[in-house]
């Protein structure tokens, strides 16, 4: 496949994508009205996992690919609406060539992928077998005989010119790895026998969606086998496969991936603070804080299968020496992260007491009740928070004898026309965290003054972070928001209004079942909304 051809195919595919951006503003119906088909591009994490799972986990992965973009705050959802730049196409091609060369250039790697022994450079039968088998895994569906023949023919030409079977295999891989069938999760759907006039995912598409949801990677041979024979549409087979996927260690990487996207941990890893203001800052603090949060999510969702309200309320966290120093608790491990129990008399608890939140939702030189309040609303309550208008002066008053603390200064700012509407919904939440500075260290005073951390969350009062955590964890909005974020991650496209009833039902079950993330993932994977597509005439 030439570069021009590959580019054309990608661009054509992208053009098709654009038309499939689903609506998000239609009124909520009483019954599920599934979303139209989408064609999400593999996110960077999914790309890496697919390459590793299929071609070998020792490959050097491409340093740069077309960047992911978030939609509804999730990269996986953004993958369904993102476009690929011309440079991105080039990067995919370069990556394909690099990966193919690594596989073909090391006999032990190639031999793992071959189920036949090539008799010579132009052993077309063995080459076709290789293309068919590896292609099925990379494209997550059975390649048609024509597709196999086309790829094998091009590869055979390479073998003729270059003289080895390995180079034929390399050229076959180059084609497979830059094709839309690999880079995109195509979801065209098929007629849904249970809902006349409507569509559902094909079995292969369903297998892919399940695997990328529960493993953040491609379906394995067993799952593809149920797609090939169509049995995956049988509810019992689907449930059995979902349970198998949930029991696999690869679940961990998907849970981490989801949490990373949901909580914006990619930004946390790049945390930057003014070193003159925050002595505890170092370049490894961001990655360390990110890992702390991921460990907590793993601990609750996988290791202990706990009530996920604990994500907000728990006194358990996972710290290394640097984080322990910030939290002023003894570390329990010389290297890496280890569980510690925070004092139950302190305010610090749960995710909202972590640097991932307190340091991330803050300015480089100070705390920010506004940013912290906005984070809670956007990511934990799924409220819509608009960005400030571009021409709005967002500067808050400097400290004065009348307004020494940040809270006092922000309260004055709230009276400025154009600012008050947002600040009144954000700051009262953010004030709860004011006893934690911009990097997350506890402080008893702000600018020499006592700190007032009282506030209310949509009318429910709280005294500080400690009590806000309880209010928040018990709120129906938090429960639904977690459900929404996990559902969006699962279906890998924007959620449409017609799915509101589906998400509501999942959230209700999530609550009834003790807010177990593992069970929620299962419910989502088995839900109608997960596998059905829009009906004819649906807007």
């Amino acid at each position: 496949m030439t570069r021009a051809y590959a580019t054309m195919v990608l661009l054509l595919t992208l053009a098709a994508c654009d038309e499939q951006t689903p609506p998000t503003t239609t009124p909520a119906p009483a019954k599920l009205q599934p979303a139209p088909a989408a064609m999400p591009r593999l996110t960077r994490a999914q790309y890496d996992n697919t390459v590793r799972d299929v071609l070998g986990d020792d490959l050097s992965l491409p340093p740069t690919l077309e960047p992911d973009v978030a939609f509804e705050h999730l990269l996986t959802v953004g993958s369904a609406v993102a476009k690929v730049s011309p440079r991105g196409v080039e990067l995919y091609e370069e990556a394909a060539r690099s990966l193919a060369a690594q596989v073909a250039g090391k006999p032990e790697r190639l031999v793992k992928l071959l189920t036949c022994k090539p008799t010579g450079p132009q052993d077309s039968a063995c080459l076709s077998q290789f293309v068919g088998e590896v292609g099925d895994r990379l494209w997550r569906r059975a390649l048609s005989p024509t597709e196999v023949a086309t790829i094998a023919a091009t590869a055979t030409k390479a073998a003729t010119a270059l003289g080895t079977f390995e180079q034929a295999a390399e050229y076959a891989l180059v084609q497979l790895l830059q094709a839309p069938g690999f880079l995109y999760r195509t979801e065209h759907g098929q007629a849904d026998p249970a809902h006349a006039g409507c569509k559902r995912l094909t079995a292969y598409e369903l297998a892919s969606r399940l695997a990328y949801f529960l493993w953040a990677g491609p379906p394995d041979a067993a799952l593809l086998a149920t797609a090939k024979d169509g049995s995956l549409h049988d509810p019992k087979v689907r449930a059995a496969q979902v349970d198998r996927l949930l029991a696999d260690p690869k679940l961990r990487r998907s849970v981490r991936n989801w949490a990373g996207e949901w909580l914006q941990l990619h930004d946390v890893a790049k945390l930057n603070k003014d070193p003159k203001v925050y002595k505890h800052f170092s370049s490894d603090l961001g990655p360390s804080a990110r890992e702390e949060t991921l460990r907590l999510v793993e601990h609750l969702a996988i290791d202990t299968d706990s009530d996920f309200r604990a994500f907000i309320t728990t006194r358990t966290t996972f710290v290394d020496r640097r984080l322990a120093a910030i939290y002023e608790v003894p570390a329990d491990n010389e290297k890496g992260h280890a569980a510690v129990t925070l004092p139950d008399y302190g305010e610090r608890r749960g995710f909202l007491g972590q640097v991932s939140f307190l340091g991330h939702a803050a300015h480089p030189v100070s705390s920010s009740p506004t940013l912290r309040g906005a984070f809670v609303r956007r990511f934990l309550l799924c409220d819509f928070v608009p960005d400030p208008p571009a021409n709005l002066n967002t500067a808050i008053p400097e400290p004065s004898p009348e307004a020494k603390t940040l809270r006092q200064r922000l309260t004055a700012h709230m009276n400025v026309p154009g600012c008050s509407s947002c600040h009144k919904t954000l700051d009262p939440i953010g004030f709860a965290f004011e006893r934690f500075d911009g990097i997350g260290r506890y402080r008893s005073k702000d600018n020499g003054e006592p700190i007032d951390t009282t506030g209310d969350l949509d009318g429910v009062p709280f005294g500080d972070l400690d009590s806000l955590a309880v209010v928040l964890a018990d709120s129906a909005k938090f429960r639904r928001c977690v459900t929404q974020k996990l559902y969006g991650y699962g279906v890998a496209r924007p959620t449409v209004a017609g799915e509101k009833s589906q998400v509501d039902a999942l959230a209700a079950t999530f609550g009834k079942n003790g807010m177990k993330v593992n069970a929620l993932m299962r419910d989502i994977a088995l839900s109608d909304g997960f596998s059905r597509l829009a009906c004819a005439g649906a807007k």
Binding site: A324, A325, V329, T341, V470
Partner: protein, 306 residues
């Protein structure tokens, strides 16, 4: 030579103080009834501060220097009991201050190794000199009728802050040569405590070599600024010349004829603990310090390390 000097002069202290967090993980058993209470942290009766800066007490003006009256008398140049060593006056006018080492400081600096003090500080920041003061039985950070002070020693590479100093609140291993010396019980008055005398063997590591500095009749004083820092620290006592000689001899294995140089510098400087032959076997000294809060790893973690 340079490697030995911090070891020679680093007379200091240390302690542990683990404000162990209360156990009990309130895992998500929250109710929507929003009766929040103001929780009050139980007062931590044990505190540990690691020394983050250590400096020599210098004479300024000449004859005036920080330190203690270790032998309980004001000595003059003709006092045989102090081998003819004259005492100094403290900045606040107290006579009889024993700090003969302060005479060596300008000599050391004049000898071209003025980075000596920096080297000592570097040893603090690289974990070679991880000394701590521990307060036990605290009821208040300002006034307390009886508080026990211990000197402890840590081990490991400290995390440094963006200012290059040892970070507040970090965790260390207990040094296998931890002296755990009880310096004494004292009164905390307006945040300041002063205890002694005590004898202690201070473990020090310089350039990978372990040394022991013997201090006799020592005293320590410091001021608790808040729950995270101490300042105005002063520690001093009589450093045995035999331990100095031993350190010099060990250092000489790598540093040439350092033992001869040290002998020439300190051999006649003793002013305390005169023996039967009339030789003063200890050199009075004092160092200033500040400290920041610290913790020790649990014993099982440190056990593996040791």
């Amino acid at each position: 030579m340079r490697g030995c000097l911090p070891a020679l002069l680093a007379l200091i202290l240390g302690c542990e103080g683990t404000a162990t967090p209360a156990a009990g993980d309130a895992v998500a058993d929250s109710k929507a009834d929003v009766t929040f209470e103001t929780k009050v942290a139980p007062f931590a009766t044990k505190r540990l501060f690691v020394l983050d800066t250590i400096k020599f007490a210098r004479q300024k003006p000449p004859g005036t220097v920080l330190g203690w009256d270790l032998d309980g008398k004001v000595s003059t140049a003709d006092d045989k009991a102090t081998c003819g060593k004259k005492d100094f006056v403290s900045p606040d006018g107290v006579a009889g201050i024993d700090n003969q080492f302060s005479l060596l400081v300008p000599l050391i600096e004049a000898s071209g190794i003025a980075a000596f003090e920096s080297l000592l500080q570097a040893s603090v920041e690289s974990g070679g000199v991880l000394l701590m003061v521990e307060l036990v039985g605290l009821d208040s950070l300002t006034d307390d009728s009886e508080v026990t002070v211990r000197i402890r020693a840590g081990q490991g590479m400290p995390l440094l802050g963006t200012d290059g100093k040892v970070l507040t609140g970090q965790t260390f291993h207990l040094n296998k040569r931890d002296p755990a010396t009880v310096c004494g019980k004292g009164k905390l008055v307006a945040g300041t405590i002063d205890v002694g005398p005590f004898d202690i063997d201070l473990p020090i590591q310089v350039f990978g070599k372990e040394y022991t500095l013997e201090m006799r009749g020592g005293r320590v004083r410091f001021h608790i600024l808040d729950d995270q820092r101490v300042d105005a620290g002063l520690v001093g006592g009589g450093i045995t010349l035999s331990s100095i000689a031993k350190i010099a001899k060990t250092a000489a294995e790598d540093q040439g004829n350092i033992d001869d140089i040290v002998e020439s510098l300190t051999g006649t400087m003793g002013d305390l603990a005169q023996d039967a032959t009339g030789t003063c076997t200890q050199l009075s000294a004092a160092l200033t310090f500040t400290g920041v809060s610290a913790f020790f790893y649990p014993a099982d973690v440190t056990k593996d390390k040791l």
